[in-house]
């Protein structure tokens, strides 16, 4: 088990290294560099200015050399400056990361709080009208374009009813405490939650139904264990294993999933930051941001595997080699 974790950790580092080079190269493939954008913003910039700035930003070197320079510095903890924000990369990233984690964390907890009871509820009465209705609702949540849902929310709650702020992070001039931020979190969290509840609910339902067919449930029922207890204590506990897995595996994609929500509600999160940095040619931010997202995915995978092994002793890690 420990050895397995060590191997996976090593793999993760290798993957991260490869990814960093891939992403660096991809960004390099994009036409235009930061200086081109500057020239475009200011018609008075001359060729000499451009060459001078390009040298200043180190853009006149070949890409692999720039990558090595970046890597050397990054390994020493120097991630450089953000071009778009004129601040050191960690200083820009850290608050954004926290914001996104707050947003995602709240919506994840909320989704699961709804999805688990709903999924169990549906699993206990398969193929009834209730089940079908829940299924329909789940698909509806999965199928709605997220920016569309966000816009509807803004129109309804911010404009028509006027009960929630249309966007932003916190009131102007406030201290940015969580309490102040709550009203600003309601709509983004609701949007993210509504689009993810469906998937989780269907997953819980399937997992619980699978468990309810197992022998041990039949045994428990035969022994006269009350149905409530059978479902909630026995079936659900085992069904949670795959549910936890799917949640952990989804970590990385959550970043990108939040992009749309973040930009609709002017919420300053990672998704939006990565997007802006790519379009604004902010190498340093884009790289570290994308690597963080990769790291999240890898961590999610690892957690899922470890959790799986811990929860279900039947699983060993040699199984894949046949």
């Amino acid at each position: 088990m420990l050895r397995f974790a060590a191997v996976r950790l090593l793999q993760a580092i290798v993957v991260l290294l490869i990814m960093s080079f891939l992403i660096y190269g991809l960004i390099g493939l994009m036409p235009g560099d930061p200086i081109d954008l500057m020239i475009n913003a200011d018609p008075n910039v001359t060729a000499a200015d451009a060459a001078r700035l390009r040298a200043l930003y180190g853009l006149d070197q070949p890409i692999w050399e720039r990558y090595l320079n970046w890597l050397t510095a990054a390994l020493q903890g120097d991630f450089g400056y953000s071009r778009l924000f004129s601040r050191p990369v960690p200083e820009v990233l850290a608050p954004r990361l926290l914001n996104t984690l707050l947003l995602l964390g709240m919506s994840l907890v909320l989704s699961l709080m709804v999805a688990i009871p709903l999924g169990v509820f549906a699993a206990r009465r398969p193929n009834t009208a209730t089940d079908t209705a829940i299924n329909l609702a789940c698909f509806a949540g999965i199928s709605v374009p997220p920016f569309w849902l966000a816009l509807l929310f803004i129109i309804l709650f911010a404009v028509v009813l006027g009960v929630l702020p249309a966007g932003g992070m916190a009131p102007v001039g406030g201290d940015g405490g969580l309490w102040e931020r709550l009203p600003y979190l309601v709509m983004p969290v609701a949007t993210l939650t509504l689009v993810s509840i469906g998937g989780y609910t269907r997953f819980v339902r399937a997992a619980v139904m699978e468990q309810l067919r197992q022998d041990y449930i039949r045994t428990a029922r035969a022994k006269g264990v009350p149905e409530r207890s059978v479902v909630w204590r026995h079936a659900l506990r085992n069904a949670m294993i795959p549910v936890v897995t799917i949640v952990a595996l989804g970590f990385g994609s959550l970043f990108s999933g939040a992009l749309v929500t973040e930009s609709m509600f002017a919420y300053l999160g990672m998704g939006k930051l990565i997007y802006d940095s790519i379009l604004g040619n902010d190498y340093n931010i884009a790289l570290v941001g994308l690597l963080l997202a990769t790291l999240m995915t890898l961590a999610g995978n690892l957690l899922a595997d470890l959790g799986y092994a811990a929860l279900d002793p039947r699983i060993t890690f040699t199984e894949t080699r046949t």
Binding site: G32, S86, W179
Partner: protein, 566 residues
């Protein structure tokens, strides 16, 4: 209306105690519309990357800094050059500018400026010529990262301080624009020198404008920045050391909302009072907004110096024929586009010179919409045969052109589709292939890789001599490092000569005929297809007074102290 609804909403929440209190605090500004307001919340679609005045030009940065700092000279709302930080424009007549001959024999000019006597940094230190000299020093340092170094390292060959408040600018050659130092944006020497001298190469990252943005000593305008929440908003409060008229608002907040649909929602919900034209909604949105909410807001359209046009690659064999270029323009009903899409608020352009410019001439060829005439021109140019609705020449070549613009710019995409349909009617096949702005400007235009047509806008200051756009020495190519903006590849000896002459012809009555001739050449040769001049749309609440849009690249906030709440 919105306020009532807002209050109703709060009432509903009140039962929940604390939450209601939070919500109340949140938009307290929305509550007191009846009385004069102390606070103004402005919506902007961008957040500035840096707050340093001379690094990386950006509309929102200029807009915000307009409230907190002032340039020496700028163009006012009537497009006249005026002094803001200086006391009086230098002039040859008054002797504050003198023609000189440099030691190497070049004819040049020296101009004297005097800093406003009351100009004082927010920390109480007066703005002096030491600041000006420091600014010049930073500007011409090769590592400082200042965007427009040409002004500091080439155009200005020296600055002499006469005393604490007066300095002389030595220009590299004789130029009529000797009185304009719009881009010499003074930096506080007492704060920035230590940062700069520690490591000039790191100055752009370590400047106090980015590391200590609320330092009062960085600003000397009517307001100073007191709070910056990166990406979200900037708070400005009156600067006690301001020398001019006392500003009307106790607090101005510039909030960033990038999504324009969300911006409208913010406006309607009262979280934003005013959407500035310089950094706000497109004209289409403003028109639609006015239609629905015109009684609650003043929507002001200010025609400006955004020249929307289509650059033509004159090296394209089809477009090299001027008859084809004229046919393309004649086949387009620009009046109808302006009327139907832009509510008549954006005037049709005939050349790159705006009708509001004092050098505008009306004496040149125009190309009113006329399909038959367009067809005739094409036939004269040899595009006679029609196959599947597309013209061909004798050799069987199809009259097919690629049309590029910035992807995601909705207005341009709409206009493109209208143009495509109209050209189709005279048998021209136009393929739209748009690229993200960073690709289009970063590479396609700069390296002249666009095969035929590209639609975008030039933003200029008034009376801007179009050297970089029309002079034949400004055609980007590999051997000149792709400098210049003559993307069309326009070469015209007479135009070159006029441009050279204009730079040294200072008297209006002598410059006017040159300008007229330049417009005639442009209209005749059509290096680009002029479309229209864009208007900025300002959505103001009725209680906001004193905002005067400029219509050029210098923002209305340079007169923010005149803004009042009714």
């Amino acid at each position: 209306m919105a306020i009532n609804r807002t209050l109703l909403g709060y009432g509903r929440f009140k039962r929940m105690g604390a939450v209601a209190a939070v919500l109340m605090g949140m938009t307290s500004a929305g509550a007191g519309a009846a009385t004069a307001k102390d606070e103004l919340v402005i919506g902007a679609v961008q957040f500035p990357g840096t707050f340093h005045p001379s690094i990386d030009a950006m509309a929102t940065k200029g807009y915000i800094l307009g409230m907190a700092r002032r340039p020496f000279t700028t163009f006012d709302q009537d497009w006249k050059l005026i002094c803001l930080l200086c006391t009086e424009l230098p002039s040859l007549e008054k002797g504050t500018a003198v023609e000189v001959t440099r030691s190497d024999g070049t004819r040049a000019i020296d101009a004297t400026f005097t800093i406003q006597p009351g100009a004082t940094w927010g920390d109480g230190k007066p703005v002096t010529t030491r600041d000006v000299l420091f600014t010049w020093e930073v500007g011409r340092h090769p590592l400082s990262g200042v965007t427009n170094a040409q002004l500091f390292s080439k155009d200005i060959v020296g600055i002499t301080a006469v005393d604490d408040k007066t300095f002389v600018v030595h220009w590299d050659k004789f130029r009529c624009g000797y009185d304009a130092i719009n881009d010499l944006l003074v930096l506080p020497e007492h704060l920035e020198r230590p940062v700069f001298e520690t490591d000039p190469g790191q100055y752009r990252n370590r400047t106090l404008y980015d590391t200590d943005r609320t330092n009062p000593g960085l600003y000397f305008g009517p307001y100073r920045i007191t709070r910056v929440e990166a990406g979200a908003y900037v708070v400005l409060e009156p600067n006690p050391t301001w020398w001019g008229e006392q500003p009307g608002f106790k607090r101005i907040v510039v909030r960033t909302v990038e999504n324009t649909a969300a911006m409208e929602a913010n406006l309607l919900s009262g979280e934003i009072d005013y959407v500035a034209g310089e950094v706000g909604l497109s004209i289409e949105q403003a028109l639609a907004f006015e239609k629905r909410h015109g009684q609650r807001y003043n929507v002001v359209y200010k025609p400006g110096l955004f020249y929307e046009h289509i650059d033509l690659n004159l090296d394209n064999p089809i477009l090299a024929d001027v008859r084809v270029r004229r046919a393309l323009l004649t086949a387009v009903d620009r009046e109808a586009i302006s009327r139907q899409l832009f509510g008549g608020k954006q005037s049709v352009a005939h050349t790159g010179v705006n009708p509001l410019d004092r050098f505008y001439s009306d004496d040149f060829t125009k190309y009113p919409f006329n399909q038959q005439a367009a067809v005739k021109l094409l036939e004269e140019a040899g595009w006679t045969e029609l196959r599947d609705g597309i013209r061909q020449d004798a050799s069987g070549r199809r009259l097919s052109l690629e049309f590029q613009s910035t992807a995601g710019n909705r207005t341009r995409e709409l206009v493109q589709q209208v143009l495509q349909a109209q050209w189709r009617k005279i048998g021209v096949d136009v393929r739209i292939n748009n690229q993200p702005a960073r690709v289009l400007f970063g590479e396609t235009m700069r390296e002249r890789k666009f095969p035929a047509m590209a639609m975008f806008a030039w933003l200029s200051s008034p009376e801007n001599i179009p050297r970089t756009i029309l002079h034949s020495s400004m055609i980007p190519a590999a051997d000149n490092g792709f400098s210049g903006q003559n993307y069309n590849g326009f070469r015209d000896a007479e135009a070159d000569r006029i441009i050279d002459d204009l730079e040294v012809t200072c008297a209006d009555d002598q410059a006017k005929p040159l300008w007229t001739r330049l417009q005639q050449i442009y209209a005749e040769k059509l290096p680009a297809l002029p479309l229209y001049f864009r208007s900025d749309s300002y959505i103001m609440p009725p209680w906001l007074e004193g905002v005067r849009p400029t219509g050029h690249q210098y923002p209305s906030t340079l007169w923010v102290e005149q803004w009042r709440s009714k």
